[in-house]
């Protein structure tokens, strides 16, 4: 996986699950996609601007004022399901690791409504986000 690349791991209709190394590799062409990223979930504004349909990132240890997951709330305000994996379960900066190894440590309300909860694998959480789009 390299900077600038997007890996498609699943497709359902016009929607996909996409893995990226960093959230800055996402763009407006991802407006039907679920994004699994190696980045922290600190900002959210960039992903919200790209109008993605779901996002899973790293909680970065949550940190000061829960800054590592502050983006979850912002995405929730846009009705976008989002979750973060624990920084001890996946290597930050590595989107494949988020997807393959990550365990969910935090979810926003929109994600919780889809049945995504703490302790779930990132893979299962991404699947739930994708399935919700097919409904």
């Amino acid at each position: 996986m390299q900077h600038g690349q997007q890996k498609v791991v699943k497709t359902s209709g016009k929607s996909r699950i996409i893995i990226v190394e960093t959230s800055s590799d996402v763009n407006e062409s991802n407006s039907n996609d679920i994004i699994v990223t190696g980045s922290h979930q600190g900002s959210g504004s960039y992903l919200a601007g790209c109008k993605v349909k779901g996002a899973i990132g790293n909680d970065a240890g949550k940190g000061k004022q829960d800054a590592g997951i502050a983006g979850l709330k912002l995405l929730d305000e846009q009705g976008i399901p989002a979750a973060a994996v624990g920084n001890m379960t996946a290597k930050i900066g590595n989107g494949d690791s988020t997807y393959e190894q990550g365990n969910i440590s935090a979810v926003n309300e929109a994600a919780r409504k889809l049945g995504i909860s703490e302790g779930m694998s990132a893979k299962e959480a991404a699947d739930k986000m994708l399935q919700a789009l097919a409904r």
Binding site: S43, G68, K91
Partner: protein
């Protein structure tokens, strides 16, 4: 993606200390810069820093995490003789370069940074100054 505009907090003889929210926003134009950013210091960030050939970097340790992935880039920079340090995720808000610079407290420094006198517990500002002074001496 709209290119992030960096904040310059110090400048001398073409060398600068700049603040960026995201490490992905740095490029060839930052060759003479010490970069203080809001990103984690993962392996990919170390790679971006090497490609841009910057003079030093301070980022967020992201709680260090699995296999110390949050500071893996720091080690990579050290292997190439570039000073790097990370601030504790409990001292500064990740994703916010200004918080790293204004509030960050160093939790880890690579060998090159240690040689410059940068140590755990130092403010990010002081650490950035030391990297900046070293860059000026090297020119």
């Amino acid at each position: 993606m709209v290119k992030e505009v960096h904040k310059v907090v110090k400048e001398s003889g073409g060398y600068r200390i700049i603040i960026a929210n995201s490490a992905t926003s740095i490029d060839d134009n930052n060759k003479k810069d010490v970069v203080v950013d809001g990103s984690h210091f993962g392996l990919n960030v170390g790679q971006y820093a090497l490609q841009a050939k910057i003079r030093g970097m301070i980022g967020n340790d992201a709680g260090i995490g699995l296999e110390e992935a949050g500071i893996a880039g720091l080690k990579l920079l050290g292997q190439h003789g570039v000073p790097g340090a990370a601030v504790s995720c409990m001292s500064a808000k990740i994703g916010n370069g200004t918080a790293t610079y204004e509030e960050g407290v160093i939790s880890v420094a690579n060998e090159t940074a240690k040689i410059l006198g940068i140590t755990k517990g130092m403010s990010a500002k002081e650490a950035a100054d030391k990297m900046f002074e070293a860059a000026l001496k090297q020119k």
